[in-house]
C-alpha cells in the first residue's frame, strides 16, 4: 500500500511512443542540425585557428605593428584596426541621428497614407547593394563632401580630429588631401547603416502603448511631449539595440570603403585627411599577393574583425530582446 501511494506522487516517465516515420524525421532533422552546427562552427574555428601560425610567425608585434608591407614581410594590425573603428564611428555619428529622425518621422509625423510607403522605402534602402552606395559615395558625394571637410578643417581645427596637414585657407587648396579619407568612407557607410537602425527603431516606436499615448495627449501634451514622455522611454532599448547592430554592419563593410579610400597604414587621428585602412578593405586589397604566412595574417585580422562584429551583435540582441517591445521581434 505504501509503495502505490508514493508512486502516485511522482511524475510518470511517459514514453513518447513515436511512430517509425517520426523517429526517422526527428533523427534526420537532428542530423541536419548537427551538420549545420559543425559546418558553421568549423568556419569560425578555422578563422580563429589561423591566429596561431600568425602569432608564431610574427609574434605579438602583430597587434602593435602599424605597417603592412608584404614585400618586406612586415604586417601588423594596429593602424588597420584603428581605421576600421574610425570609419565605423563616423558612420554611426552621422547615421544615428539621421536614423532616429527618420524613424520618428515615419512613426510619429508622417500622415497615415504615407506611412506604409515610407516603411517600404526604408526596407528598399536596406535592399540596395552596398556597391551602389560605394559608387554614390565615390563619384557623387566625394566632390561635395570634400568641401564640407575643408570647411571643418578651416573653422574647427581646434579639435584635433579635424586637422589636415595642409593649409585649408589657401586660395589653391590641396583638394586631393581631403579625398579618400575615413570621413568620406564613413559617410558612404552611414547610408548602409541608416535603414538598418531606422527599421528597428521604427518598429519599436510603433509598439509604444496606445493607452500611455492617449494619457499624455489628454493631459495636453504636444506631439513632442508625447514622444518625449511615452515613445522614447519605451523605445530606449530598441534604439540602443538598433544602433549596436548598425555598428556591427559598419565595422564589416567592405566594398564602399574599398572604392573610396586610399590605403595608408599609420596611426592616424585626422579623419578628414586622405588615406586610411580598414580590415575588410585590407583583405580585399592584399589577398592576391599574400604569401602563406601573410594569408594566415589576413585570416587572423579577419578573425579579430569577426570577434568585434560578433560582440557588438550579441550586445544588440540582448538590448532588443530585453526591452518591453523585444518579445517576438527579430533583428
Amino acid at each position: 500500500m505504501d509503495g502505490s501511494a508514493s508512486a502516485l506522487d511522482e511524475p510518470r516517465n511517459i514514453d513518447q511512443g513515436l511512430s517509425r516515420s517520426d523517429r526517422v524525421f526527428v533523427t534526420s532533422a537532428r542530423s541536419v542540425g548537427v551538420f549545420v552546427f559543425v559546418l558553421v562552427a568549423a568556419i569560425g574555428l578555422f578563422l580563429g585557428y589561423q591566429a596561431l601560425p600568425t602569432l608564431h610567425h610574427y609574434g605579438f608585434r602583430f597587434f602593435t605593428e602599424t605597417q603592412w608591407v608584404p614585400e618586406r614581410n612586415i604586417v601588423g594590425l594596429a593602424a588597420v584596426l584603428l581605421g576600421t573603428v574610425e570609419v565605423a564611428l563616423i558612420a554611426l555619428a552621422v547615421g544615428f541621428p539621421l536614423a532616429l529622425f527618420t524613424a520618428l518621422f515615419v512613426s510619429e509625423y508622417a500622415p497615415a497614407r504615407v506611412r506604409t510607403a515610407c516603411v517600404s522605402l526604408i526596407d528598399l534602402m536596406a535592399a540596395v547593394p552596398s556597391i551602389i552606395y560605394g559608387l554614390w559615395g565615390f563619384f557623387l558625394l566625394q566632390p561635395r563632401a570634400m568641401l564640407v571637410a575643408r570647411f571643418l578643417a578651416q573653422h574647427f581645427s581646434f579639435i584635433p580630429f579635424f586637422r589636415v596637414d595642409t593649409d585649408p585657407n589657401a586660395a589653391a587648396w590641396a583638394q586631393s588631401k581631403f579625398t579618400a579619407s575615413a570621413f568620406i568612407a564613413g559617410l558612404a557607410v552611414s547610408m548602409m547603416v541608416i535603414p538598418l537602425a531606422a527599421a528597428i527603431m521604427r518598429g519599436v516606436f510603433a509598439q509604444a502603448p496606445l493607452g500611455e499615448r492617449e494619457a499624455a495627449k489628454a493631459l495636453g501634451a504636444t506631439r513632442w511631449g508625447v514622444i518625449k514622455t511615452v515613445v522614447l522611454p519605451f523605445g530606449r532599448r530598441g534604439i540602443i539595440g538598433g544602433t549596436m547592430l548598425a555598428l556591427g554592419r559598419a565595422l564589416g563593410e567592405t566594398i564602399a570603403v574599398a572604392l573610396i579610400i586610399s590605403p595608408a597604414f599609420e596611426i592616424k587621428w585626422h579623419v578628414l585627411s586622405v588615406g586610411t585602412a580598414t580590415v575588410s578593405a585590407l583583405i580585399a586589397g592584399r589577398f592576391g599577393e599574400a604569401t602563406h604566412a601573410q594569408l594566415s595574417a589576413l585570416l587572423a585580422a579577419g578573425f579579430v574583425l569577426f570577434a568585434m562584429t560578433l560582440g557588438v551583435n550579441t550586445v544588440a540582441a540582448v538590448f532588443v530582446n530585453r526591452s518591453r517591445s523585444g518579445e517576438g521581434s527579430e533583428i
Partner: protein
C-alpha cells in the same frame, strides 16, 4: 450667419493659421538672409553649404517667431518637428540621388540593345558603347546565385524546421551558432572559401567556388528568417493536427510548411536579393573574366557586382559607362525582387 450642415462631418484641424504663417515666413526669411550673407558678405562656395545654412537659419527663425506668440511647449514642438522633417528629408534625398545617379550615368550604355545581348569577349574596354555588353555577367550572376540558393535554401529551411519543430537543447546551441554566423562579415566568407578551396585544395577560381562563398553568407540568414516564419504559425494549428492523430512529420509537411509557404517564399526572395548584390566575397573568389562562361566548374565566371567593380575603377570612360549601366541593371533587378515580396505579402493579407 453661415448655414452649417449638421449631417456632414466638419473638417477638424490641429494646425492653426499661425502655424502656417510662421513656417512660411521663417522659410522665406531665412532664404533671403542666407542668400545675402552667403553671396554678398562671405562669398563662400558650394550649393550644399547654402542649403545647410538656410536650414539652420530657418529653424532658428521659426523658433524665434514662434516664441513671440506661442507658449514654450509649442515653440519646442515646432522646432523639433522641423529638425525631424529635415533629417528624414536628408535621408530621402540621399536615397533618391543614389538611385537616380546610377541610372543617369548608366543610361548611355543602357539604351543599346547590344548591352544585353553581347559580352565583353574580344571587346576592348575602350570600345564604343555600341559594342560589348553584360550578358556574361548577368548569366554568371544567375548561375552563381542559383547554385548558392540550391545549396543554402534546403539546408537552411531544414535547419529551421529542426529548430522550430523538433527543438531540444542541442537546437538552442545550433541557434546560437547560426545567430553568431549572421555577424560574419561577407568578405570573410570569401576569404574562408579562398583559403580552404582555392589555396588548400587547389581549385581554380570558378563559378562554383563563388557560389559556395555566397551560400555560406546566405545560410545563416535563411535559417534565421525561416525559423521566425515557422514560429509565427500558430501553435493551435499544430495541436489540432496532432490531436487528429497525425505524426510530427505529417504535421510539419501537411500543416506547418503549407501555412508558412508565402512567408518562406518572401524569405527566399529577400535572400536572393541580398546575395545578388554581394560583391566582397566575389572579389576574392571569382575572377573577372570577359567571356561568356556557363560552366561553373571550369574557368572563371563573371558576375554583375564584380563587373561593376572592375568597370568603374578602370578609368576608361566607355568602360565606366558600361559599369554604371550594369549598376543600373543590378538596381532594377534588386528592386524588382523587392517589389515581388511586397506583392506576395499583400496577396497573403488579402487572402486572409
Amino acid at each position: 450667419m453661415t448655414v452649417v450642415d449638421l449631417d456632414r462631418p466638419r473638417p477638424v484641424s490641429t494646425r492653426t493659421f499661425d502655424d502656417y504663417a510662421a513656417l512660411g515666413g521663417a522659410a522665406v526669411g531665412s532664404l533671403a538672409t542666407v542668400w545675402l550673407l552667403y553671396s554678398r558678405v562671405f562669398a563662400t562656395q558650394g550649393a550644399l553649404g547654402f542649403i545647410v545654412c538656410w536650414y539652420v537659419g530657418f529653424i532658428a527663425l521659426y523658433a524665434a517667431v514662434s516664441a513671440f506668440t506661442q507658449p514654450r511647449v509649442t515653440v519646442v514642438d515646432r522646432a523639433i518637428s522641423a529638425v525631424v522633417h529635415g533629417g528624414a528629408a536628408v535621408v530621402g534625398i540621399a536615397l533618391a540621388t543614389t538611385i537616380g545617379y546610377v541610372f543617369v550615368k548608366g543610361w548611355p550604355a543602357l539604351h543599346h540593345l547590344n548591352f544585353y545581348t553581347q559580352d565583353m569577349g574580344g571587346v576592348r574596354p575602350t570600345a564604343p558603347l555600341t559594342q560589348g555588353g553584360v550578358r556574361h555577367a548577368v548569366v554568371g550572376s544567375a548561375i552563381e546565385v542559383g547554385l548558392a540558393v540550391v545549396m543554402a535554401m534546403p539546408l537552411g529551411v531544414a535547419t529551421a524546421v529542426y529548430m522550430a519543430e523538433v527543438g531540444g537543447r542541442l537546437s538552442n546551441a545550433v541557434r546560437t551558432v547560426i545567430e553568431a554566423m549572421t555577424a560574419l562579415p561577407d568578405i570573410l566568407a570569401g576569404l574562408f572559401v579562398y583559403t580552404v578551396l582555392i589555396i588548400g585544395l587547389h581549385w581554380e577560381r570558378t563559378g562554383l567556388a563563388a557560389s559556395i562563398a555566397l551560400a555560406v553568407t546566405m545560410l545563416p540568414v535563411v535559417a534565421r528568417s525561416a525559423e521566425v516564419v515557422l514560429k509565427v504559425v500558430p501553435s493551435g494549428l499544430r495541436e489540432a493536427s496532432l490531436a487528429l492523430g497525425a505524426s510530427k512529420w505529417q504535421t510539419t509537411t501537411g500543416v506547418v510548411l503549407p501555412t508558412a509557404r508565402s512567408g518562406l517564399a518572401t524569405s527566399l526572395i529577400i535572400g536572393i536579393a541580398r546575395i545578388t548584390g554581394e560583391t566582397a566575397p566575389l572579389l576574392i573568389v571569382s575572377g573577372a573574366s570577359t567571356f561568356f562562361n556557363t560552366n561553373p566548374t571550369h574557368d572563371p565566371m563573371n558576375s554583375l557586382p564584380l563587373y561593376i567593380f572592375t568597370a568603374v575603377r578602370s578609368g576608361e570612360t566607355n568602360f565606366v559607362a558600361r559599369g554604371y549601366g550594369a549598376a543600373a541593371f543590378l538596381v532594377l533587378l534588386v528592386l524588382g525582387l523587392f517589389a515581388l515580396t511586397r506583392v506576395l505579402a499583400r496577396g497573403r493579407l488579402e487572402s486572409k
